[in-house]
């Protein structure tokens, strides 16, 4: 993975000093809260319902075991002993004191981490496929390009006061695990017919109150133009993105109102001036960054095949976990392991300091010290020998991290909701917990198969409900919580926005409604080979409406 050089260390140290000075001036009254807000946000500090929240960047979701130990230490020392992994592959701490934040940032800097641009109207942490560098289906590791973008966008003088936040995601596989089509810019690394490396560039995807699927802006941008082309997009957006209404300020609205062809022409015109300039990436620089991401030396461990088969025969629980949370690696003797942060009845994405330390230790013992954070709020060990899966599983089990539900109905994404968030209208976490408890039975979950439930506590959609196979949106109606259900959303290479199925449900009726939807699916599907999303796309909303509301609403709809 990337390692800081002297320049990076000096930069982050200066950034900590800069923010420390800003905090001091705020506490002295030299900066008003209004003016301080964008400054603290640009460094990941939010004011929540009960306390400040600090969001720490995990660039493209890649962590070393040493960094994970530091995150555990921070949770223990400055927070209440846990942290929350987010849908943008970051981690947030919900209870730090403002006066402790400079010290936390200094500790993070020791392990090459920071909170730069994890919030605010600037270019945010660049996210990537959590299986990058290990997946068999990728063209190349996309993370070197994410790292180049991370560096280039850090404290960018022209693009730090954008109309709104700006999120870039990158994948290198046809099978999109990074949800690139619901990002402001989505990049798909590819090779053209001549064997050159470049990107398909998507623009204007996003969720929030106006969900939109990104449009293809450029089918193939040669890699050396990455920074000049993104600069052209950013400049057009900075100058022309709407600033009169924060809910219409994202680039998706500019794309929608301008039209993709017109916007493409503007970007192209701007890029003509930039493409031959100093932002052009030399091959040597791409190669130098790429060399940091060289995979670990994976020696052949063919003995693992027989061992794994034997373990699976003797231990049904282990076998279930392998079937669910273990995916093939590009090296046949290795696997990619998903560590679920979705225990039955738990809080999605939360990990205790002890769990973080345990994951770090297991990563050192079995996974070359490398850890990933997924946008589905789980962790991944990307390089584990088949021969090590059983001892790894025992280690995870000792910490309650062996939940075998990756991709299943209890692998729920949920935003913090009204339990923490100042923006929320309704609770998300208790909703996730109740659904998880209802579907706790492992056999029943397997029978249902792949089903993604995503829950947001307000229209800002941090819980990605628009792209949930089943999406749940908490709203407030007449002072009470009400939950709207959408069906048919998806955030992969076939991205779609879910459709509202009908009137909302009170909290006490919601889980029953989810069960009705699941039972309807089970009755409608052609068989286990037809997952929920395929079935929904085939049969449409009608049977689900009928089951939920009876005949009257079907006719009305």
């Amino acid at each position: 993975m990337y390692r800081y050089d002297e320049f990076d260390h000096d930069f982050v140290r200066d950034r900590v000093a800069q923010f420390t000075d800003q905090v001091e001036r705020r506490l002295k009254g030299d900066i008003s809260e209004d003016a301080f807000k964008p400054l603290r946000l640009m460094n990941g500090v939010y004011l929540q319902l009960h306390a400040y929240m600090l969001r720490v960047a995990v660039p493209y979701g890649t962590l070393s075991s040493r960094q994970m130990r530091k995150l555990a230490h921070i949770a223990r020392t400055y927070d209440r002993g846990y942290g929350h992994f987010t849908t943008r592959q970051n981690i947030q701490y919900n209870w730090p004191k403002l006066s402790d934040i400079p010290a936390i940032l200094s500790e993070l800097a020791e392990v090459e981490m920071h909170a730069i641009q994890t919030s605010g109207n600037c270019i945010r942490n660049v996210t990537a496929d959590h299986f990058a560098g290990a997946a068999a289906d990728e063209v190349a590791d996309p993370r070197p390009y994410a790292e180049i973008l991370r560096q280039w966008s850090s404290v960018h003088p022209e693009f730090s006061f954008l109309p709104r936040k700006f999120k870039i995601a990158i994948t290198a596989a046809e099978r999109d695990r990074a949800a690139i089509q619901v990002h402001d810019i989505g990049l798909q690394l590819k090779r053209n017919e001549a064997g050159e490396t470049g990107f398909a560039v998507y623009v204007g995807g996003g969720q929030g109150r106006t969900p939109m699927v990104a449009k293809l802006l450029n089918p193939f941008l040669p890699e050396e133009h990455l920074l000049s082309y993104v600069t052209a997009i950013m400049r057009v957006y900075n100058l022309h993105g709407r600033r009169d209404n924060k809910y219409k300020a994202r680039i998706k609205i500019l794309v929608h109102e301008t039209g993709i062809d017109n916007l493409a022409a503007q970007v192209e015109a701007e890029w003509e001036h930039l493409r031959a300039g100093e932002l052009k990436l030399p091959d040597a620089d791409i190669a130098a960054i790429t060399s940091y991401f060289a995979p670990p030396e994976l020696s052949d461990r063919a003995e693992g095949w027989a061992q794994l088969a034997a373990w699976k025969r003797t231990d049904e629980e282990f076998s279930g976990w392998v079937g669910r949370n273990v995916a093939p690696h590009r090296h046949p003797d290795y696997a990619m392991v998903t560590i679920s942060l979705k225990p039955i009845g738990g809080i999605p994405g939360d990990a205790s300091a002890d769990q973080m330390d345990a994951v770090a230790a297991l990563a050192d013992e079995f996974g070359f010290g490398e850890i990933r954070v997924t946008h589905e709020q789980n962790l991944v060990l990307p390089h584990v020998a088949l021969a090590d899966l059983e001892p790894l599983w025992r280690g995870l089990k000792a910490e309650g991290l062996e939940t075998a539900n990756s991709g299943l109905i209890t692998d729920i994404i949920a935003c913090p909701g009204l339990d923490y968030c100042a923006l929320a209208n309704a609770r998300s976490i208790p909703v996730a917990q109740e659904i998880s408890n209802r579907f706790a039975d492992a056999r029943r979950q397997e029978e249902i198969g792949e089903l993604k439930i995503k829950i947001s506590g307000c229209i800002n959609a941090c819980g990605h409900h628009h792209v949930g196979h089943i999406g749940i949106l908490g709203v407030e109606k007449k002072g009470a919580e009400l939950y709207q259900i959408t069906l048919g959303g998806s955030a992969d290479e076939n991205t779609s926005i879910g459709e509202i199925i009908g009137r909302g449900f009170e909290p006490e009726r919601l889980t029953d409604a989810i069960e009705v939807i699941v039972d309807t699916y089970l009755a409608e599907r052609t068989g286990r080979e037809e997952p929920f999303i395929d079935c929904y796309r085939r049969v449409g909303a009608a049977p689900f409406k009928l089951a939920l509301y009876g005949g009257s609403e079907v006719e009305a709809a």
Binding site: D14, R15, D30, W152, R235
Partner: protein
């Protein structure tokens, strides 16, 4: 009271009238439309004020005659003038003064300097104090080229270092 700070210190005798109606003292700074109209009908030097929604590249044909540009930051959160200044320097090759006006606050100044703004008008007391001490909260290391003078850094093409 509004003070004008430039990279070489505070300016006591500001030659420019930045009022929109010419009611102030000094040479009048025109709106972009007024400036282009003047340029079409005369050979006078041009002092122009760029509002956030303006297209600054319209100055390209007459940029040789532009002697002063004010770029407006009407709100802390409105960053359009950062692009205006970048375009003036990088695209139009303008070398004269670019002044940030509006509600300029200390923490914007390092960003402004990097995109080529070289003077600011501010009435914010704590900002004026820090400018007087020449104690700017900026970072000398940069991950991207920008209009202001900086030197390349060994390693990667996109990195820069400001003069100390």
């Amino acid at each position: 009271m509004t003070r004008i700070w430039t990279t070489s210190g505070f300016l006591d005798n500001d030659p420019w009238d930045l009022s929109t109606d010419g009611s102030g003292e000094g040479a009048r700074v025109l709106s972009l439309d007024e400036a282009l109209e003047l340029a079409a009908g005369s050979n006078e030097p041009i002092a122009v004020r760029i509002e956030p929604a303006d297209d600054v590249t319209r100055l390209a044909p007459v940029v040789d005659r532009v002697v002063f540009v004010a770029v407006n930051f009407p709100a802390f959160s409105d960053g359009r003038a950062f692009s205006h200044a970048s375009l003036l320097r990088d695209r139009l090759g303008y070398t004269g003064e670019i002044r940030a006006i509006g509600g300029v606050l200390l923490d914007q100044v390092p960003f402004m300097l990097r995109v080529g703004i070289d003077s600011v008008a501010t009435s914010h007391g704590p900002t004026i104090e820090r400018l007087a001490e020449n104690n700017l909260p900026g970072i000398k290391l940069h991950y991207q080229p920008a209009a202001a003078e900086s030197s390349p850094v060994a390693g990667y093409s996109w990195r820069r270092r400001s003069a100390p």
